[in-house]
């Protein structure tokens, strides 16, 4: 079971997110994360889909996506050849006793405190999902009040674009 990341260029149309997530659900594909946002061209959105599965599962997901009229093009992002990032906001309990320890974890992970009160602070951190996981695990001992993750976004390295590296 390998982790796969797909970048999907979709027509920015009525119901496109529902259409694609509904396809994943009804075909029984288990998705770890799905992010969507506008692109340089307002007519298109870009989705980043991450999931675990063998090649058979991956091929089915790629082919089912590729035949949807709203999908303009898609490509698989190999880990070594792409950059992936996730952003997370973690609200951590703050206290005199733990403050210094929290701050040193924040420093080591190059995270940023974006809201601060004597009882709690919100820390922002970006990075690969594995780094985020490690950070969340570490600060758990101080008491996490809530967490909000964006899910993964990713681009292929180099000067190419999805529009000329289409697997559809």
């Amino acid at each position: 079971m390998d982790r796969h990341v797909l970048s999907v260029f979709v027509r920015n149309q009525y119901g496109v997110l529902a259409r694609i997530s509904s396809m994943f659900r009804r075909r029984g594909f288990n998705i770890d994360s799905l992010t969507v946002g506008e692109t340089e061209n307002p007519e298109y959105s870009r989705m980043t889909v991450t999931f675990n599965g063998d090649d058979a599962v991956k091929n089915q997901i790629v082919r089912q996506l590729a035949k949807m009229p709203d999908v303009e093009c898609l490509t698989e992002l190999e880990r070594a050849e792409s950059v992936s990032r996730e952003l997370v906001l973690v609200k951590i309990k703050n206290s005199k006793e733990s403050r210094q320890d929290i701050m040193s974890v924040v420093d080591i992970f190059r995270a940023k405190v974006v809201d601060y009160s004597t009882e709690a602070m919100i820390v922002e951190i970006t990075g690969e999902s594995s780094k985020i996981d490690a950070f969340v695990d570490l600060v758990a001992e101080f008491g996490i009040i809530e967490v909000c993750r964006t899910g993964m976004v990713a681009l292929k390295r180099g000067n190419g674009s999805i529009l000329n590296e289409n697997d559809k």
Partner: protein
């Protein structure tokens, strides 16, 4: 000058409803099946205006409209069109849309909806039909502004008939039907370009075929929708292969063809299933290896290499991992393969298959009494090659699939993938209208009871449908399973109904007959095929008749049941 231009602009503007009707006519739609209602009243006003150019068939229930559009499409290859109002009208189409989706039938379903300003407020007869039909349409559209209407309709037709066909729904809010916009007629939209096969795939296919000693060509519904029947036969002749088909592939190859063994699978012909099981190469042409076709996938055709040709790439390796998948238009791929393969003969293989056929012939029931086999033999004798035969779903459907003879593609109209009881009557009406002649419906008392309201449609338009209803007083297919696998617990499958079907047909204004003897049925059937309007014939059969052979669900050829056991 300025003034004239302005006038010109005024003249060119039409309401959304008018644009819809004009675009349908532009796309050479000659008939639509539908039912009026509050949110399509503007469309119906325009249909009234254009009734000489676009015929509207008023059905009894929207489900009938979707099945009729489906039957029309299956029997003609053209896009079937149905119209319903918002809310319940739209949801009543859903079973028919899902039926078309599972069998890849080109259809455009048009629904009205409440005005844009009322959307999302749970308004009267408002339903999110694009949301509801998302998983059962190839694509669907909500047209929020009149500017997009004509092009959306064209796009819907293009999608419905391109590649692997399927249903497309267009939801049009009432204010869009009223709003004014320009309309310029355009030509009929062409399907997207057919996908050609990759050269190295064809080379691999030729190599596999040349190495094969026991080739079997397996035709699915794609063979019919892509019109590849002649190529299949030419390939079979050249490489001395036998041909079988899935349920959906029925009528792609004429029954009389020497190489054709009939349907394989759960209720397939013994020889066809055995040949497939013993083949060393299966060339699959537009089929999806459904569970009903393969049985236990782990034991499916254990010695065979599989070539899978399909225009929908997502079908390749979905249910069965193929040794070679070719994503291509079927005709294009087959014609290149035919050119490349060596002409050979496989007398041993052909002899093996002949032995399977001899074995199969032993299973044919020999009896004078009224039974499904004899009924279908009479239907074969009475019908012409051009008459489409529709069915409902259940035992009668499988008997028809097994024993009905077809001479041309698009003559078997049946719900394969979804297995929709109640499909038959609407589909038979749509087929008859599509071919501009007669159609035959073979149905059972269970299925027929589901949508018999469409008798009203057949009567109103005097549609020449010959309805042959096999009445066994039970839900026979479920009963068969209960008999074989559930210790004869006939739970809710005995239809202790008091319906007098002949009088019921007469009440709808349709001539009804009841036959208890074969001679009587043959005489009635002959007359019915020559009659001008609809005819209803009820035939009584034994409630314990079984569809055989049968592969138990999840079973393999080792588990095949060919004869009745126990009671």
């Amino acid at each position: 000058m300025h003034y004239e231009l302005y006038l010109c602009g005024e003249i060119m503007k039409f309401s959304g409803a008018e644009i819809l009707v004009r675009t349908l006519i532009e796309q050479q739609v000659d008939v639509v099946f539908g039912y009026p209602g509050g949110q399509v009243i503007h469309i119906y006003d325009r249909l009234y205006e254009h009734q000489d150019e676009l015929k509207h068939i008023l059905v009894a229930h929207e489900q009938g409209a979707s099945h009729a559009a489906d039957g029309y499409a299956r029997s003609t290859g053209k896009v079937g069109v149905c119209i319903a109002t918002s809310g319940p009208g739209a949801t009543n189409l859903v079973t028919g849309i899902a039926t078309a989706y599972l069998d890849s039938v080109p259809m455009v379903a048009i629904t009205g909806n409440v005005s844009n300003d009322l959307i999302g407020r749970d308004s009267f007869q408002e339903v999110d039909i694009t949301g509801i039909t998302m998983p059962v349409t190839k694509h669907n559209f909500f047209v929020s502004k009149v500017e997009d209407l004509a092009d959306t309709i064209r796009e819907a037709f293009r999608l419905a008939k391109s590649g692997r066909p399927g249903p497309v729904l267009i939801d049009i809010p009432k204010d869009v039907q009223i709003a004014q916009y320009d309309y310029e007629p355009e030509s009929v939209v062409e399907a997207f370009d057919k996908i050609p096969p990759k050269a190295h795939k064809i080379e691999s296919a030729i190599k596999l075929i040349n190495e094969a000693k026991k080739p079997y060509i397996y035709c699915g519904g794609g063979t019919i929708s892509s019109g590849a029947s002649d190529e299949v036969k030419a390939l079979a002749d050249k490489i001395d292969a036998v041909i079988g088909c899935s349920f959906m592939g029925l009528s792609s190859i004429e029954t009389s063809n020497e190489r054709f063994l009939g349907m394989q699978g759960m209720h397939g012909h013994y020889a066809s299933s055995m040949a497939q099981h013993n083949a060393d190469l299966i060339i699959t042409v537009g089929a999806r290896f459904s569970d009903r076709a393969t049985g236990n996938k782990a034991k499916y055709a254990p010695q065979a290499k599989i070539i899978h040709i399909d225009t929908d790439k997502a079908e390749i390796d979905k249910n069965i991992i193929a040794d070679l998948g070719i994503c291509s238009d079927l005709k294009l791929a087959l014609s290149q393969i035919i050119e490349g393969v060596t002409k050979v003969e496989h007398p041993e293989w052909i002899q093996t298959v002949k032995d399977f056929i001899t074995e199969e012939e032993k299973h044919v029931p020999v009896s004078e009494k009224m039974n499904p086999y004899n009924i279908l033999q009479v239907i074969n004798k009475c019908k012409t090659d051009d008459i489409p035969v529709a069915t409902d779903v259940g035992q009668h459907q499988m008997w028809t699939a097994q024993f009905c003879e077809f001479a041309k593609p698009r003559k078997f109209i049946s719900s394969g993938g979804l297995g929709t009881m109640g499909f038959g009557l609407g589909a038979a009406i749509g087929s008859a209208i599509g071919v501009g002649g007669k159609s035959i419906l073979v149905t059972g008392d269970g299925s027929f009871g589901m949508c018999l309201n469409e008798l009203a449609t057949a009567a109103s338009y005097n549609v020449p449908v010959v309805i042959v209803m096999m009445n066994n007083g039970v839900l026979g297919m479920v009963r068969q399973w209960q008999n074989l696998f559930f210790n004869q617990h006939y739970s809710n499958t005995v239809l202790d109904r008091k319906t007098d079907f002949v009088r019921l047909a007469e009440a709808f204004g349709i001539k009804g007959y009841r036959c208890t003897e074969m001679a009587d049925f043959e005489k009635t059937m002959k007359e019915a095929v020559d009659a001008e309007g609809p005819v209803f014939i009820e035939c009584f059969i034994d409630k314990d008749e079984m569809v055989l052979p049968m592969l138990p669900p999840g079973g393999s050829m080792d588990d095949i049941i060919v004869e009745r056991v126990g009671n």
